[in-house]
Structures are given as C-alpha cells and as structure tokens.
Subunit: 615 residues, 2 copies
C-alpha cells in the first residue's frame, strides 16, 4: 500500500506508534462497475460526448485518486479530532489544513469539475463525476460537503435563477471562490418544511429576510471569501403550507455590480453544533435579520421555492447515498489493513498468519467487501441512468431511464446509507478493542456515517417517497419494468451460467425477485385502503428493494467477470473475486429477503397494535 | 414521566432549552419477567432463601430505581461530556459528580449488595441482583463498571485466594472502600491471552511484577482510597501458552497487617484512552514495575491464573449482556419521550398528534420495545438458571440448569450486545437530525453501547465459545434439551392458544426452532471435518440462537399475560401490550431466522473463498 508522505503518524500508548492507513482509490473496481453496470461505453458514445474516451476517464480517476490520497485523506483525522471552531464575533475557523486543501482543490480544478461547461465546469457525464465524488467522500466526508452544497446551490440558481443572478454568482461559485449553502431547516420545520416561518418582505428590487435556520452545512467558515446562502422563506401574502414558500439568494457579503464585494449582509452564524461525527464540517445555526433584515434576491417565481428545492434534492440524495458508499470503502480499506497486519491467536485459514486467517474476521471483511461493492454497483447504475435520461438519442429510453432513476433515488440514498452503518460498524468490530479507541481511526468512519441516514431526509422519508410517489401513485409500472429486467437476467443466468457457476446466482435472484414482487403487490393493493400500513412497511420494503436490485447488479458484474475469465483474461484473481463476492452476497445478504418480505406483508398489524400510552 | 429535581437542563440553540428525559426503572416489566421466565417464586422457595419475599424484592427494586433515577442518571451526561481526566503524576480524576455518587452508592449499601453474606453482602438471588444491575447500567454505564469490576475481583479472591488474602482485602472491596480491577490485556495479548508477557519473580512471601497492561477499566481513579489490581503474569519457570499464566493481587497501596495503608506500590496509570464512548469510565494503561517491581501476592496455585479468570469471565459476560439490555432500555425511554413530544408533519395514526403517530416512527419504537423486552427475558432467564444451578434441591435440576446457563452465557453476552447496537441506533434515528447532535443525549447511548460487543470477548469470541465448547464438544446434548423444551411449549401454544391468540406465536416458534435445529445439525456434522466452516458460521448461529430462545421466552410471557387477561385481570393495557409485543417480535425479528439458517449452512464457502491478496 502506498503511503503518502503527509500521512499522520500517531504515537499512542498501545502500539508505540500507529501507522495510519492511507486511502487508495479502488480504480479497477470503479472502472469495472462504470463499464459493466454504469454503461460507460454507451454514455461516452452519446452525441456531444465525443471528448469522453476510456483513456480520459481513467486519467481523471487516477488523478482524482492521487488528490484524495495525498491531500484529503491526511487531514481527515484532524477534521475529526480538532474540527471546525466557532468563536465570538460569529467567526468559524475550519480545521487545520482545510484551508490549504480547499485552495488546492479549487486551483487544480476539482471544485469546478462537476459543473456544466457553460458555467466553467468540465461537463463530464454524471457517471464520471459520481466516481470522482466517491473518492472525496472516502477520503474526507466532512471536507467534501462544502463542495457538494455549493454544487447544489449552483444547480438551483442555474435552473431557476434569472440571467442576472446567474451572471453575478455562478462563475465564482463554480470555481470555488465563493461557496454555497442550503437554508431549509428551522427548529419546528425539519422533515416537514411546510412549517417554515422565516419571513421575506419586499423592498425595491430585493427582499428583507428574517428568521432562524438550523443544521446549515458549511453555513459559515473561512475557506472562501463569500458564502451564497439559498434560503427558504415566506412572503407576507404567502399561502399556508408548502405552497407558500419562496427561495432567496442571501449572500454573506453583498456583491457590487462590478463583481466586487460590498457590505456585510444582516446574517450571522450564532453557533455551530457539537455532533457525533463529521466534525470537519461546521453545522451552523444561522440568524437572518437581527438588524434591518438580510437582503435577499428572489430565485424564480414566488411560492415555488419548495419545488425548486426538490429538484435539487434528488441530486443531493443520490450524493448522500454515495457518501454511504465512500465511507464504507474507506472503512473497508482501514479494516483490511488491520486484519492483514494484526497477529493474534492461532489462525484456521491456511497461509494466513494474521487475524484475517480467523474465519469470523474473514467473514466480516468479506461482508464489508460485498456490501460495499453492491452499493457501488447500485450508485453507478443510478448515475448511468441519469446520463441516459439526459442524453440518450431515443426519447423512449430517456423517459424510461428518468423514471427508473427517480424510482431508485430513494433506494440509493436510503439503502446505501443504512448498509453503510453495518459496514462501518463491522470495521470497528474487526479492530476489537482497538476499534473503540479513537486514535485508531475506525470509529470516525462509523460516527461520520451516521449522519447519512438522517440528512437530506431520513431513511423513513426516503422509504415513504419510494412506496408513495415512486411506487403506488403510478400503479407500480416502473417497478414492474425493473422486476421484469431482473427476472430476464436471472433466467438467462440459470439457463446459460452452468459452465461458469453463475446459474446459482440466477436461482437466488429468482427467489428474491419473487419476494420483492409479492411485497410490491401487497403495497399496491393496500395503499388506497390503508396508507398507514403501507407507511409502516416502507423501510423494510426499501431494504428489500435495495438488496434485490444491488444483488442483480452484482450478479451481472459476476457474469461479465466469468465471461472474461472464459475468454482467457490474464486478470484471473480480480475477476474470480467478483464471482465469489456476488455468491457471498447471495448467501449472506439476499438470504434476508424472505424475512423482509414477511415484515412488509405481515408486520403492520403489530406496528400499529398499541396505543400511545402502552409504549 | 417523573422528572428528578437534579435532572439536567441544557440550553442549546435548537430548542431554547432541552429538558432531558430522566430514567425511570421499568419495575412492572422487570417483575413480570422475573416471575414468569426468571422463576422468582421457585427461587424464593429454595432452602436458605426464607428471607426473600415478593414484597422484599419489590421494595429493593423500587429503592434501586430511585437511586438510579435520582443519583446516577443525572451525572451520566457529565460522565460522557467531561469524562475522567488523566493528569501528570499519573493521577486520574473522575468526572464531576462521580465521587459524591460513589460515596452515596457505598453508604447506602448498594455497592455491597450483590456480594455473598459471608463477606458483607446481601446474598440475594442472582436474579434479583441482575434486575438491580440492569438499573445501574441503564442510568450510568460508565459509572457501573467500577462496581462490576470490583465484584469480579471479589469473586476471584473469594473462590481462589488464601484465607489471608480474603481477610485482608475482601471486606473493604465489598463495601466499596477499595475497588478492584482485572489486568488481563497487553498490546500483543488481546483475545489471545496465551501471549501474555508480564513477569512475576518470586521474592520471599511475595512476587515482583513487571509489565504493561492495557484496557484496564477503572485502573486508576480518585473514588476510593485503594485499588486492588488482579494481574495475569508469568513466573520465570512458567510453561509457554495458556498453561503458564498465574494470577496476582497487586494493591495500589500496600496494606499493613493492621489493615492500614502502607507504601505506594510500584505501579502507575501512565495514560487513559480516548474512546468512542463510556467516557465516564477511565480505561487505563497500567505500568507495573518501572522501579524494583510491583509487589504482588499469588492467588491460588501457580500457572492456574487463566482458569481462575475464566470462572469470573462467565459472570462478567452475563453482566455485559445485561449492559446491552440496560443501555437499550434507556435509549428506548429517551426515544419514547421524544416521539411523544415532538410535533412534525401530519400523522397517520388516529389520536397521535406527535411523531409517534407516523407509522414508521411507531415501527422503530415498537422494534426497540420488543427487542429490549426480548433481551430482558433472556438475561433474566439465564440469571434464574444460575440460581437454580446453585440452590435447587434436586441435583439433576442443578446440573441441567448449570449446563443450560453455560450454553446461554455467550448468547446473553453476544446476542444482547449486538441487538443493543440496533436498538440504540434506532433511538438516534427516531430523533432525526437532533439525534446526531450530542446535546440531545441519544448519541451517547449508541456510543456507549458499542463497547459491549467488544470487551469481555468480542461477539466472534462468544460465538466461537458457543459453537465449540458449548455445542459441538459435547455433541449438542444441552442444545437438544433446550430445543425440546421450546418445541413442547410451541406445540402447546398451537394447540391451546386459539382462544387468546397465542397459537400464532406457537406456529412462528415451531418454524424458527426447525431453522435452529437444522443449523445445529449442520454444525455438529461439520465440526470434526471442517472447523473453519463452523467458525465462519458461528456469529450467524449465535444470532439465530438468541432470536429463537428470546422469542420463546417472549411467547411464554405473552401466554402468561393472555391467561391473566382471561382470568379477568384489571391490568389489561399492560398485559395486552405483552401479547402484541411478542407478536411483533415474531413478525419482525423471528422472520430473520430462515435467512440466518441459510447463512450458517451455506455461507462458509464464500466466506473462505478468496485468498488474502484478493481482498
């Protein structure tokens, strides 16, 4: 394993000196998944994508990997240990090393990379920027959030803002000179944004915004010279509920017509939260309008703010799913290194002298590997769908890809992040007592991962979106098409896979697709009459869907690997591992499906069986 | 909910002022489980137990509950937030409030309570002290460890020490005037104690001990005037491996013949660990013999130290399982209070205005409740077995209870602590974004809980003990007897439970006992030829066993509740909740059993399917 010269060495009482592992981007795994389930070649062949070659993609991934390993990974522990600090005067100082890393991130163009070319970005396929984003999330989750939020704000302004707003704000936000935020949550308005109370009063060409926003990621910091806040607020004449919320741009420093910075706006970060994880990312309490009101500019039309936000939110949700993947990959690498180095007890696996030779440790590591690769297959598949939805020549394929991407968005978010809890927990467990000691670093991944099942909508919110908007309200047609694809592939594996061992994968898939279909039919039949029962079953249904779809994609990867082995590929070890990993997933994860199906179809009665006072 | 006057009020940016929930011992649930699965009445009727009446037990539990709520729960957050501190001079200062609470804990007799009467304890049944210990673990896990370790040291000296050692050390250790520790782990000797290197050289009537011990719980602190360390070390002529380890008493201050404290011994706490949780409990690095060697006294015979420790370890393991239960109960109460208070969005459950009216939140809370009650049923059942093994009139029952208690010890430890991860995670999840903020308190339970699957042997170690020593080496006879009992009860429920709805519980049980039996037969048939495959299946097998046995016990509780309802009990709400909770457990947890069985019987091939370099 390559060790960066800046990698931290910790001296501790336990091992004298602990050599921290350094992140290495899993380039081969990434490229294999991009090609074989993401559909990279077809996406690169889309009209207008002439510049995207396999060589270019490989070169981008390689360079991104170097930046992640060499610059971000070494400061990730400092971000956790020291974190961002708030001080009087409402100043927030990023963790040591973050400013230098951020400057380098912008100068080398990584900050601008995912944006569209018209605003200064690279305009690469979503699939490629997804793989790159996975690396940032692996190497520094807290750090990565600043760019992710800025990107969301850029997209909101680009889609819905006036030409004037775009010209004034986007170039500097894309380059990273300025950063962006999303100000949604208020103390009484979390999952339920209908309860937003922040006010915006018209005043000439702008508005005066006042109210308190909480949980604002990178809401204040010293990385960039200006911060562009997107703020949800109500106009004086706004209707109640979700249809009375508008979206405003409130810059930290007002921007003069010549682009120079003017006065400080009337907004401040009054504190930052003390959190379980992602200490590198300052989570701010923002106070707007303690004086005359913060000057804000309306984005798009009045009262449409929430729908603008929801456009962005789908993008953000896929990104948070990707965080689950990124942190899991990092936790896996960390645990693998420990298991390959730590000597303890007599091992049962021939040839393995360290604890990886204990079958139970090997099981844990294999589980981490299989689940992480399953997340990657699912996330890259969804990214590929977005590229097909945006740029495929055939309008039918575009529409079908779009609806499937929408169906899978809450699954990518909800399932990957829930699985990340298991994976990062297992990473700590492989370390034994050392895992509970913060200096080892394994615990950070687990603490950081926990935010991912909460923000951008909890798993419960994702699951409700899946069973409601994405499944039942459209009568299940998108899901039916997906299940038909899974079934067809499974059938083919059963029929044609005997020589290379993929027939068993097909049989497992057929069983689990039956379970998912049964659960789906139950929800469709129950929705109209008993929405509470459907909501009670939503999270188990999301887990079942994630298991089946990602299992399908892993089986397809195994099928490709088996075919390459049969064709005489020299890369036997890598390819054979793909086949074993898919089989492991079937035996250890897909075996959960029948139980999950039962929870969906039979679980609601008792979930709803007690009165409040019986709890 | 009763709020103690000392309950903390935290001011935070989010809700203005957060009213922390206060622990309330679930006395009715505890007594119900003690009676109906713990066998309290029969244990109270054992010879020599004349003083144990139902009234006395209730009074003890009630008083313990008051102490837990009023004294321990209020300092639990301080323990987490400020924690124990090490300072130069190798001094450790406990968290604010701990010294006062400890003094009160000793003065009121709670410290001495679990000890045998001959050393100054109350000599109560294990079942009763188990219920009391659950409260300490709920209200203050970090605090409770000091007594637990002392108790273990007391037992070790009481069982194996000379009369002189007993007379000199036990009275003060039982009263809490002095505390005790267990010094086992060394940097290279964690799960594998065969690798212990600490040395003990004879010198007159004592030994000189030198070496480094790590992970020593409450190894140094300012709560008591002396600390009695039990230390595993090797004599100069000791054989290699586990058969060359002896046990020594090394007091922090040497004790003069008149019982007064003499010189400081040559041992010191050179640092304490920075951990993910249990910050209130100082985890010490102990250095013995930096000068002439720490004076130590041999316990029992030379070279038998490890077997002495293993006697203690079974007790400690049940206690750690109980920690899983205790923290889960506390996390459940905390989440319940939040779900009953927090208003957010339109609810689907009629009559519930707060988030408990969202079916998915209700599902999470119901899962927490069912799993926590399942842990309690299992832990109290195991405690009752220990009482029967110690004091039943019939030698056959004593022997059978002992072997069943030994079979279930790794299950209580491994299963309750793994389930506690799920429960405490769910507790955070119910809080949404507030769960990730440390001030809310939900995160602490999750961080604290994580140590329980690690110390006193990881889940992997427990599972290996279960499948090896407790199952396969005795040909599965103890497990067969247990399964026969489960099957007989299930059959009875199917046949007799139609009128009160327990027949469905019986049918679920029959299915899952079949799954456990299939898994058991597979392990028994595989053990001799392929021990690696058995080890690879050990943790899933432990989880399957825990699910089935605790499901059986919950079903028995439901059966008792149904009978009491049929007999016209006025306590309908409480009793009916027991029936619904058992049914929920069957639908939501027991449904995992078929999947777990498949992992056991079919999972080893892929777990062991890659070479080290393929990871």
């Amino acid at each position: 394993m390559q060790i960066s010269p800046v990698a931290m060495r910790l001296t501790g009482p336990l091992f004298g000196e602990i050599q921290m592992s350094t992140y290495a981007a899993p380039l081969r795994d990434m490229l294999f998944a991009m090609k074989e389930v993401g559909g990279l070649d077809a996406i690169a062949a889309q009209p207008g994508r002439e510049e995207v070659s396999a060589d270019l993609v490989e070169a981008i991934l390689e360079e991104a990997g170097k930046f992640a390993s060499g610059v971000l990974d070494p400061i990730n522990r400092t971000g956790d240990k020291i974190g961002a600090r708030w001080s009087t005067g409402n100043v927030v100082t990023a963790a040591p090393g973050f400013k230098e890393a951020y400057d380098s991130f912008c100068e080398t163009g990584w900050h601008a990379m995912p944006a569209r070319t018209e605003f200064g970005g690279q305009g690469l396929p979503t699939l490629v920027s997804t793989a790159v984003a996975e690396m940032w999330k692996s190497a520094g989750l807290g750090f990565s959030l600043c760019q992710m939020l800025t990107q969301g704000a850029v997209e909101a302004i680009a889609h819905h803002g006036s030409e004037e707003l775009k010209a004034k704000y986007l170039p500097n936000m894309v380059s990273g000179k300025w950063t962006g935020t999303m100000n949604l949550t208020e103390p009484q308005a979390g999952s339920d944004l209908a309860a937003v109370r922040t006010k915006a009063v018209p005043e000439g060409d702008h508005y005066r915004v006042s109210g308190t926003k909480i949980f604002i990621t990178w809401g204040e910091h010293d990385l960039a010279e200006n911060i562009i806040h997107l703020v949800l607020a109500r106009l004086p004449d706004a209707p109640e509920g979700v249809k009375g919320i508008s979206l405003f741009v409130c810059p930290k420093f007002l921007v003069n017509d010549d682009g120079s910075l003017g006065e400080r706006n009337d907004l401040a970060c009054t504190s930052i939260e003390h959190k379980m994880g992602i200490h590198g990312s300052p989570t701010s309490v923002m106070s707007f309008g303690d004086g005359p009101g913060a000057i804000g500019y309306l984005v798009g039309e009045a009262h449409k703010g929430l729908s603008y936000m929801f456009t962005m939110m789908n993008h953000a949700r896929v990104n948070v799913g990707l965080e689950g993947l990124g942190v899991s990959e990092r936790a896996y690498q960390h645990a693998r290194e420990y298991a390959l180095e730590r000597v303890q007890g007599r091992t049962l696996v021939a040839g393995s002298r360290t604890i990886i030779g204990h079958p139970d440790v090997r099981r844990m590591l294999m589980d981490m590997k299989a689940r992480t690769e399953a997340m990657r297959a699912l996330a890259y598949y969804a990214a590929g769908l977005l590229d097909r939805a945006a740029g495929h020549e055939d309008a039918g394929v575009r529409a079908q890809s779009q609806s499937r991407a929408e169906l899978l968005t809450p699954v990518v978010k909800g399932w990957c992040t829930e699985v990340a809890q298991t994976v990062t927990y297992t990473g700590v467990q492989i370390h034994g007592g050392m895992g509970f000691i913060e200096e080892t670093g394994a615990a950070q991944y687990m603490r950081d991962a926990h935010i991912t099942t909460i923000y951008e909508g909890t798993t419960g919110i994702q699951a409700n979106d899946l069973v409601g908007r994405k499944l039942c309200r459209e009568g299940g047609s998108t899901m039916a098409a997906l299940l038909a694809d899974v079934r067809a592939d499974a059938q083919r594996m059963v029929e044609e896979g005997q020589s290379c061992g993929t027939d068993g994968l097909g049989r497992s898939l057929l069983q689990s697709v039956d379970a998912l279909n049964t659960a789906t039919q139950y929800l469709l039949a129950t929705y109209a009459g008993n929405p509470a029962a459907v909501n009670a079953a939503a999270v188990p249904f999301l887990k079942l869907t994630g298991n089946v779809v990602s299992g399908w994609l892993l089986a397809r990867l195994a099928e490709c690997a088996a075919a390459q082995i049969a064709a005489g590929s020299a890369d036997y070890d890598f390819l054979q591992a793909k086949v074993v990993t898919a089989r492991h997933y079937m035996a250890h994860v897909m075996s959960e499906c029948s139980g999950l199906q039962a929870v969906v179809t039979e679980g609601a009665a008792t979930t709803l069986g007690l009165s409040d006072s019986q709890f």
